[in-house]
């Protein structure tokens, strides 16, 4: 929904930065972006594929992961779209060398992310464990209004807002003071 709003804003032709000053996804200053903050990820016009949110039709959305995902752990768009850049194979010069912290590829096999339960990264593309006493009920998580669980899954966008509307560090969907973001789901 929020993404939709921004797309509309962009379509209106207003050159705006979605996030606050210094928003890290604002690549409008880069040569390859053509000076357009939205175009790096989003497509204008009507030839967009039937994939929300108006994603680049040439994007390889069927990227295979290093570890075969079980059906229940197939990552949704909220993960695959992020990994389009953050897996370390695309725009490596732009992302990988500069910020290894945000490159989530399998180090031995670049481009093949170990999704599902990774040992070094929070799991994505996994169903939210609603019946585990260590986690809060999914409906309460959703009711928090901050953390989203698209299709009942934990995705990158559950915690991160690529447009950084809140202006929090690491583009988090909410402030993590007192680990409030973590404790939205984790009952610890």
């Amino acid at each position: 929904m929020r993404s939709g709003v921004i797309v509309i804003v962009c379509l209106a032709g207003a050159v705006v930065s979605a996030g606050p000053e210094g928003w890290k996804h604002d690549f409008s200053g880069k040569d390859w972006s053509g000076g357009d903050a939205c175009r790096v990820c989003h497509v204008r016009g009507t030839d967009a594929p039937a994939v929300a949110p108006l994603w680049d039709a040439n994007a390889d959305l069927n990227r295979t992961f290093g570890t075969p995902l079980r059906e229940s752990q197939a990552a949704g768009l909220g993960t695959t779209l992020c990994l389009r850049c953050h897996d370390g194979t695309v725009a490596r010069d732009a992302i990988a060398p500069a910020t290894p912290q945000t490159r989530f590829s399998n180090r031995e096999h670049p481009g093949r992310l170990r999704a599902g339960h990774s040992t070094s990264n929070h799991p994505v593309g996994v169903l939210y464990p609603s019946v585990d006493e260590d986690y809060r009920p999914a409906n309460r998580v959703i009711a928090s209004g901050t953390v989203s669980l698209p299709d009942g899954r934990v995705e990158c966008t559950s915690c991160h807002d690529p447009h950084d509307m809140s202006g929090e560090k690491y583009m988090l969907v909410r402030n993590n003071a007192r680990s409030a973001l973590c404790l939205t789901c984790h009952r610890k």
């Binding site: 040992t119 990264n121 973590c182 009952r187």
Partner: protein, 600 residues
């Protein structure tokens, strides 16, 4: 009232604002527990400005390659690990989750050193590392409950004092291969029970989840409602609960940082663990007072010698409380005054103590009290030596009390000797007595006092319940031989009802009982005459007599209440000097069961 209502209402209105959803300060949350190291944390150890809580241990990205998204580097410390002579577990260096705990709790690494921060800019903390104290385990894990061993079927099979791993509560999770880790007992996120325990340590609940000690369920230490007043028990640490039963294991054991490493005991000197309560402060009876007496089983004398795994025959000489008592199984003594006729199976205080049987076999749980005594006073290489040199010199009490001996005090079994006519009812020929009928505290219940029973100590040596004089030329009196006169009627003895010359020897010539009689018993021996009626002469008083057949020292049993002596004593020389109590012997000989011994 109205004012109260408004305040109340206000509180309810403000509460949701102050407390963000998901941050309710429940006791079972890491939030506001001591593991909340954020700047808002409750403890003295916390961050200066960092406001996140999870970040000290966890990070969502680029964590250490170990679950659960670990944000710290494992310490490379080599730990001194727990060792014990009684453990069957193979204890290794800590691993897995334990290592994660130790990344803070061994005090070697900076608390703010997390992977998600550059090493040059760690989280700034009020204390760089965990401060010394009870939570700082340092690199010495030998004084802590062992971790890093597999609690599996094999361990259970070799250590029968543990529960089968399958029946251990699911509340206490073992590692991937069944190892015990810090996290088996502790849940780092939940401090509801204190000390981040998963199961309460009240009444030892967390301990007995795994440890299944024989006799513990009914043991005094598990059920006593006696109060444990603060520092009287352990001057270094306040006990957690108010009564002995609630403290349970914690009365004696310290799970972390125990001064006595091998058994995780509160005190390094074995007896201090007992005497801190059994000195009259907590327990009813004052054992400490008895132990301080001149003749005593004094556990003070040796430290570090006792080992639960020791072999009675080979151990160095020592006497610790736990040699005779099992603190995991001891119960009160329901009998109180023990006087022979009760038989001699062990009573509450001595339940589940190892022993040596009359046949010399080691047993894990003694059935009879004397079996406990035999651990030290029988075949052991370091057994006490007799103070009296006798015809037949024997320091092995097990051999002295054998029921096949010519004569013995009926400790290991009854004796049917019709010669014993002096017994005071309820004792009779055929009664069985215990070691503690003679060897007991002079202030014990058995001695008519109010003190504790048992051979802890006495003013009468060697730990005798009553006075007994063994010096030659002692004037006979009720008090001089009070010990013997407890069972053997003084009137009967002095009336010469058994040995017809008793009065002459004891009163007139002032010879103590022990010059002729060997109180424990006399084993078989070639030569030297008969040794019925406990006759085994004290060689410092009685010497051989010159006879036509050479120097001879012997007592000959010629039938019921009759015999003859060949010896020199107090300047007198007897050669085949006979005695007979014919009037009595005629009456006695018809007694049933008198054949054993009487005819020898």
């Amino acid at each position: 009232m109205n004012r109260y209502r408004i305040t109340h209402l206000l509180a309810w209105m403000i509460a949701p604002v102050l407390v963000p959803a998901g941050l309710l300060n429940a006791d079972d949350s890491v939030v506001n527990s001591k593991h909340d190291l954020s700047a808002y944390g409750p403890g003295p150890v916390r961050a200066v400005s960092e406001d996140e809580i999870c970040i000290f241990c966890h990070t969502p990205h680029n964590a250490a390659p170990q679950t659960p998204l670990w944000n710290r580097v494992n310490p490379q410390t080599y730990y001194r690990i727990y060792e014990s002579s009684t453990t069957d577990a193979r204890i290794d260096q800590p691993s897995g989750p334990s290592k994660m705990c130790l990344s803070c709790h061994d005090g070697s690494m900076a608390l703010g050193n997390v992977l998600s921060r550059p090493a040059t800019h760690p989280i700034v903390m009020t204390q760089r590392t965990i401060p010394p104290g009870r939570t700082d385990l340092a690199n010495d894990l030998s004084d802590d409950h062992p971790i890093g061993f597999r609690y599996d079927r094999a361990l259970f099979n070799s250590d029968r004092q543990l529960r089968a791993p399958e029946v251990v509560s699911f509340e206490l999770p073992l590692g991937a291969h069944g190892e015990v880790h810090c996290t088996t007992c502790h849940d780092p996120h939940d401090n509801e029970l204190g000390d981040f325990l998963r199961v309460s340590d009240r009444m030892g609940a967390v301990c007995v989840s795994c440890h299944d000690r024989d006799g513990w369920r009914h043991a005094s230490h598990a059920i006593s409602k006696k109060r444990t007043p603060g520092r009287n028990v352990d001057p270094t640490e306040r006990l957690k609960y108010a009564t002995v039963a609630d403290n349970a294991c914690l009365n004696c054991h310290k799970i972390h940082g125990a001064p006595q490493r091998e058994r995780l005991l509160r005190f390094n000197r074995e007896e201090e663990n007992c005497l801190n309560c059994h000195n009259g402060t907590v327990a009813t009876l004052n054992i400490a007072a008895d132990i301080a007496k001149s003749s005593a089983h004094n556990p003070d004398r040796r430290t570090g010698v006792h080992d639960p795994d020791e072999i009675p025959f080979a151990m160095r000489r020592h006497a610790e409380c736990v040699d005779c008592h099992n603190p995991h199984a001891a119960q009160p003594n329901p009998v109180g005054r023990v006087r022979g006729t009760f038989g001699q199976t062990v009573k509450g205080p001595n339940f589940n103590v190892s022993g040596v049987t009359i046949t010399g076999r080691q047993v894990d749980s003694a059935r009879f009290l004397y079996e406990i005594c035999f651990k030290c006073h029988a075949d052991g290489i370091s057994r006490p030596r007799n103070v009296t040199t006798r015809q037949i010199f024997q320091t092995n009490t097990r051999l002295e009390f054998r029921t096949s001996n010519p004569s013995f005090h009926p400790v290991a079994g009854p004796r049917r000797n019709a010669d014993v006519v002096s017994l005071i009812p309820p004792l009779r020929v055929g009664s069985v007595i215990t070691c503690t009928d003679c060897h007991n505290s002079d202030s014990s219940g058995a001695s008519g006092g109010a003190g504790p029973n048992g051979p802890h100590g006495s003013v009468f040596s060697p730990i005798l319940a009553y006075n007994y004089e063994n010096d030659d030329f002692t004037s006979e009196s009720e008090a001089a031989y009070a010990l013997c006169y407890q069972c053997h009627s003084r009137d009967s003895i002095l009336a010469d009802e058994s040995f017809s010359r008793h009065r002459r020897h004891i009163v007139d010539i002032r010879t103590p009982c022990g010059v002729c009689h060997d109180a424990h018993g006399v084993g078989r021996s070639a030569g030297g005459g008969d040794h019925t009626s406990l006759i085994n002469f004290d060689l410092s008083v009685v010497t051989p007599a010159d006879t036509p057949g050479g120097r001879r020292l012997e007592y000959e049993d010629t039938g019921t209440l009759s015999g003859s002596c060949t010896l020199t004593c107090h300047g007198f020389t007897h050669v085949g000097f006979p005695y007979s109590n014919s009037a009595r012997s005629k009456r006695q000989v018809s007694l049933p069961g008198s054949s054993q011994g009487a005819g020898r």
